[in-house]
């Protein structure tokens, strides 16, 4: 059970972050939307502050609390590039990612978010099953 304390604590913090942003500013903590809004606007300033905070929070975990840095993705660079491209296209087309649809949208009981979350989870599982098969478990 002990190995699940950190994941659970992290999850509770993600929920607390989303609720704080909603309570204080009335905004949804959807990271894909925050990223694109920070680049393209409008209302850039709060989005940049959120992203700066994101890096700072990660820094506290690794450099102040001493949690080891995770390794980079084992996927070859060209796959990582395709992956990023698909995540960019898909999150804008579908109006959200794991945070906006998964964490915030499910909490709002949004049917759109439920459909999106089930869909991207299913496709993530299928994609990993296929890459595992093709790579013989190397990825």
């Amino acid at each position: 059970m002990e190995q699940f304390i950190l994941p659970l604590t992290g999850g509770l913090l993600l929920g607390a972050s989303a609720m704080w942003l909603l309570l204080s500013m009335g905004r949804i903590a959807g990271i894909s939307g925050v990223i694109w809004g920070a680049v393209a606007g409008p209302d850039r300033s709060w989005r940049w502050l959120f992203l700066i905070g994101l890096l700072f929070g990660g820094g506290v975990t690794h450099f102040a609390l001493g949690q080891p840095l995770p390794d980079p993705s084992r996927a070859p660079m060209w796959i990582v590039a395709i992956s990023g491209l698909l995540v960019g296209i898909g999150t804008r087309m579908g109006g959200g990612c794991t945070s906006g649809h998964g964490v915030c949208g499910l909490g709002r009981r949004s049917p759109r978010s439920a459909v999106a979350t089930l869909t991207f989870m299913a496709l993530g599982i299928i994609t990993v099953a296929i890459t595992q098969m093709l790579s013989g478990g190397a990825l």
Binding site: G11, S24, I28, P72, M77, G88, I89, T91
Partner: protein, 138 residues
């Protein structure tokens, strides 16, 4: 509108992503690999986060307005359409290929790996392409 609360929200989010292991693509792919050596951690991450939002979202949006803004900015689209599902399909495939979704990818920039820089640039390119194509298609 006061923007400083977003800094606090970002810090909490960054802590949450890194403490939970979401910024480790191997853990994320291990979670999606249900047929293989399954890593259940992310159930606790998602579960913990969603329990909080399920309980508190209704209480918060019942208020007349947020603490430091004039109104709530909530999504108004309701349509369960092809665009929503196609977007989620593409996102799911992209997520499954590398193990990165937008939040963990941004926080991983901290680690200085070439692959997360490539991922984030490609993601921005994808977002920009999607905007142009969908504008043209009307």
């Amino acid at each position: 509108m006061k923007a400083w609360p977003a800094l606090i929200a970002g810090i909490l989010f960054g802590l949450g992503l890194t403490l939970s292991g979401m910024s480790d693509p191997a853990k994320v792919l291990g979670f999606l690999n249900i047929a293989g050596d399954w890593v259940p951690d992310l159930i606790f991450v998602m579960g913990g986060a969603v329990v909080v939002t399920l309980i508190f979202t209704p209480l918060v949006v019942k208020r007349a307005r947020p603490l430091l803004a004039d109104s709530f900015s909530l999504p108004t689209t309701k349509a369960l359409d092809k665009r929503l599902v196609s977007g989620a399909v593409l996102f799911g495939v992209g997520w499954g290929l590398s193990g990165y979704c937008p939040g963990p990818a941004v926080v991983s920039l901290l680690y200085g790996y070439e692959s997360t820089i490539v991922f984030c640039l490609a993601m921005l390119a994808g977002m920009s392409i999607e905007g142009r194509v969908s504008k043209r298609l009307g």
